[in-house]
């Protein structure tokens, strides 16, 4: 991790909920242009860490630095504007808005028109709106939802909703994309498709990817670095191969003998 510049650096991050320490003295780097995964049993603090990055939670100790900005004490909208997009473990679309509207809302970090411009229909506002709709259609095409722009988000099938959520995150032109279990509920074929898609995001758009994932096939298949959390603490960090061989991980997390496909060891531990 030292040879590349880190785009996201977490130093000594601790988050407590009352007596429960959800994330404990966590040091973490995401190198620029990489794909990094965080894995760990349920309740290990992965999503909590995501929520700390995107500003839902204020960290109790430590700092999170992104692209030269310290993210502590910033509201979620400011953090979104510094260039971090995210998706959610349980899809959180604006369900009663259309697919296109969802993407347009995702464009917020890069839109500038004001409400006065909207009332007066100033040329700048109209130009920006027109461009925004064109871009939204582009993102719709990009994630493979052509022709579904006018569907309400809640009426889209599950897989499409996942993709729409990613399109919404992409629309804000993020430098870093946080994906919270992007393949949850998908069959192996769909997961493979999603893996290709995620790699494409990094290769073609130059977006750094940080993901939480349970599907070991996905984690081992696309990650360049993997970090393992357990009870809020980092227990291992390395390349997928190193992680697969790491005895502590196998013991604490994967269970005996499990290397690929996720075994029963996961839930029991949590």
């Amino acid at each position: 991790m030292t040879e590349q510049t880190a785009i996201l650096t977490a130093t000594n991050v601790t988050k407590r909920f009352g007596g429960l320490v959800a994330v404990s003295e966590f040091d973490f780097d995401v190198p620029k242009d990489s794909i990094v995964s965080i894995i760990g049993p349920n309740g290990a603090g992965k999503t909590t860490f995501f929520n700390c990055i995107s500003g839902f939670y204020e960290v109790d100790e430590g700092t999170i630095e992104f692209d030269g900005n310290v993210l502590n004490h910033r509201s979620p909208d400011m953090i979104a504007r510094t260039g971090i997009g995210r998706t959610y473990q349980n899809i959180r679309l604006f369900t009663n808005m259309t697919a296109i509207e969802n993407i347009l809302v995702g464009m917020e970090p890069i839109l500038h028109s004001t409400w006065i411009g909207a009332i007066l229909h100033t040329p700048g506002t109209l130009r920006e709106e027109k461009k925004a709709v064109e871009d939204a259609l582009h993102w719709l095409r990009f994630v493979g939802l052509v022709g579904k722009g006018d569907f309400l988000a809640k009426n889209l099938p599950y897989g499409d909703q996942r993709r729409l959520e990613i399109a919404r995150a992409l629309a804000g032109k993020p430098k870093l994309l946080l994906l919270d279990e992007p393949t949850a509920g998908m069959n192996p074929m769909e997961s493979a498709e999603m893996m290709r898609f995620i790699r494409q995001l990094r290769d073609d758009l130059g977006i750094t990817i940080l993901l939480i994932e349970h599907d070991m096939r996905v984690v081992m298949g696309i990650s360049e670095r993997v970090t393992v959390l357990d009870y809020g603490m980092e227990i291992a960090e390395g390349t997928p191969e190193e992680i697969q061989r790491n005895p502590r991980v196998i013991e604490a997390y994967l269970g005996r003998g499990a290397a690929t496909g996720l075994g029963a060891g996961k839930a029991v531990n949590a």
Partner: protein, 590 residues
């Protein structure tokens, strides 16, 4: 055989008892007695009769529809039994009223009511007649359903239009007398009702028109659709121009009384448009909305009054911007502390805010400035320059070589409701325009997103603070403008004009009209503000009607009379949604 008929007597029993209880309630609360003499069509039908028998007819028809489509006898039976049962509670009432004096508990159960329920006969004979009449009506209502749809619809439309015109006969006949002539009015109306022959003609006319429209709707629309786009645009502009002309002519057509009613409606439309932004667009439930109305009204009052409380003697026009800005500022002041509150909590806090403002207006603390319970008096009406006279003088004097007109120009005081109408119209048009532009804009999307999921909205980069405060400020600004008009229209204001019921009223009207829908605000205001004004004789039943209307609306048409595009989308795609969720399940199952 009987089994294959699928008769379930519980259906008409249930419907019949509901209908009977409605008819009973109408009788007991006195509205039947009150409206019995109110003729709709002279010598044919009165409002009381419609009210008393409508439950039997409407509900029997509903009961009949429960029967299997091809079982006509069953549905007739259902209609008959429902109609029959409708009379039972009324007959019990007749019996009890004959035996005891019920007026101690139910003051409206008067001999007059019993007399009209029994058609002036003895209790027994009258009860039997009532039973026969309602049964017959139930039967007819069921039979009506056998008519093909293309006949049903025109008949219903004709009936509704004729009865509606009948209800407003008095106002209409007065207008016709002023606009055309006394003779013309007398030719159409008899007393406070439509003449029978005219009513029949009107019914036939509307029915035929509706029939033709239903038959030829498709080809006409198709023809319009196939017109060249340039022509459609010209036509659209023409329609808009005609509507504008009509809007400008309304006071002349409507006369003083109706103009006054329309102005009141307009003031509520303006408030409704504002609350629509807060509740409809941004999803922030505000129950203290009257506060901004009061603030706008008091600002106008204090800035312009010629009484001792005046601070500046501004003109109406100079004060308007101040009223708007002050109200918008108040919106922000309320908005800041409630930024983090949602749903119920927000509603309660805003409710408190509304009351605080009213109590402040009543308080001794502010009495030296805004008059306490005595209110603010002598608020001037707006004045405009008589452009017509000035331009005329300009040319006349130019021609004659006299000095040209100079300031101060000749002015007109907008005293009459017909004149004030234009100010209200301009205010509503402005608010409509702003609502429409904002609703379609980036800000409109932000509001929608905040309404849907506040956390995610913030995480995609929406500034919650400014988005919410803008909604509060714009909503409050419209309400403040409305209050300013209100103060100037009444020329004096008192704290008791700004009670909680105004907030509730405005909220009800946007719900009934269709939340988030601009035309819905207008329709809601006409129904909840205009109608009660026109039906003043039934004033005491106003709240009851509100309640009934709201309950019925929520059951039958929860999206409102004119649902917004968003709501319509939500409702229409229910099937699609089911299909999608089925797919979701299969996807998740893999």
């Amino acid at each position: 055989m009987v089994k294959s008929w699928d008769i379930d007597l519980r259906i008409p029993l249930r419907f019949g008892l509901i209908a009977g209880l409605i008819a009973l309630m109408e009788s007991v609360i006195g509205i039947v007695t009150l409206s019995w003499e109110r003729s709709l069509v002279a010598n044919v039908v009165t409002m009381g009769q419609v009210l008393l028998f409508a439950p039997a007819i409407v509900i029997a028809s509903m009961a009949a529809k429960q029967a299997n489509q091809d079982k006509k006898l069953v549905s007739l039976l259902y209609g008959l039994v429902t109609g029959f049962l409708t009379a039972i509670p009324l007959i019990i009432l007749i019996a009890m009223a004959t035996a005891f004096d019920l007026r101690q508990f139910m003051p409206n159960v008067s001999p007059a009511l019993i007399e009209l329920l029994t058609f002036g006969r003895s209790p027994v004979a009258g009860s039997l007649i009532l039973l026969g009449v309602t049964s017959l009506m139930g039967l007819l209502a069921a039979a009506f359903d056998f008519l093909p749809k293309f006949i049903q619809r025109p008949l219903l439309m004709g009936l509704i239009v004729t009865l509606t015109i009948g209800i407003f006969s008095e106002i209409l006949s007065n207008r016709l007398r002023d606009l055309v002539s006394v003779d013309f009015s007398r030719a159409i109306f008899e007393g406070k009702a439509l003449k029978t022959i005219i009513a029949a003609g009107l019914f036939a006319f509307v029915a035929v028109l509706n029939f033709l429209w239903n038959q030829f709707q498709e080809p006409i629309r198709g023809a319009f659709g196939s017109l060249p786009p340039r022509l459609t645009r010209v036509l659209r502009v023409l329609v808009i121009l005609v509507l504008i002309a009509l809007g400008l002519l309304i006071p002349t057509i409507a006369g003083t009384y109706l103009s006054e009613v329309i102005n009141n409606v307009g003031i509520f439309v303006l408030m409704g448009l504002g609350l629509n932004i807060v509740v409809g667009f941004a999803g922030l439930l505000d129950l203290g909305y009257v506060a901004f109305f009061a603030i706008g009204a008091y600002s106008m009052a204090v800035f312009t009054t010629e009484g001792p409380l005046g601070v500046s003697n501004m003109s109406f026009w100079a004060a308007i911007p101040f009223c708007i800005v002050i109200a918008a500022f108040a919106g922000i002041v309320l908005g800041v502390p409630v930024l983090r509150m949602r749903g119920d909590y927000l509603a309660i806090v805003t409710l408190g805010f509304g009351e605080i403002i009213r109590i402040l207006a009543l308080s001794d603390l502010l009495k030296p400035y805004i008059g306490g319970a005595q209110g603010v008096l002598k608020i001037p009406k707006p004045t405009i320059i008589n452009f017509f006279a000035v331009i005329r003088d300009f040319f006349v004097n130019l021609f004659r070589g006299l000095p040209l007109p100079k300031a101060p120009f000749e002015t007109i005081d907008l005293i009459k409701p017909e004149q004030f109408y234009y100010i209200v119209l301009a205010g509503c048009a402005l608010a409509w325009f702003v609502s429409w532009r904002l609703g379609e804009s980036r800000l409109g999307r932000q509001w929608m997103a905040v309404r849907e999921d506040e956390d995610v909205a913030e995480a995609v980069g929406i500034k919650l603070v400014s988005t919410k405060l803008l909604a509060f400020a714009v909503g409050a600004a419209f309400s403040g403008l409305s209050g300013a008009f209100f103060a100037s229209k009444l020329t004096s204001i008192f704290p008791h004009s700004f009670k909680l019921d105004i907030s509730i009223n405005v909220l009800c009207l946007i719900i009934i009209g269709g939340i988030g829908s601009l035309p819905g605000v207008v329709v809601g205001s006409i129904i909840l503000v205009g109608m009660p004004e026109l039906l003043r004789e039934f004033k005491e039943y106003r709240l009851l009607m509100y309640g009934i209307l709201l309950v019925v609306m929520m059951l039958a048409r929860p999206e409102g009379f004119i649902p917004s595009a968003v709501k319509r989308r939500e409702m229409l795609t229910a099937d699609e949604q089911m299909q999608a969720s089925a797919e979701t399940e299969s996807a998740a199952g893999d």
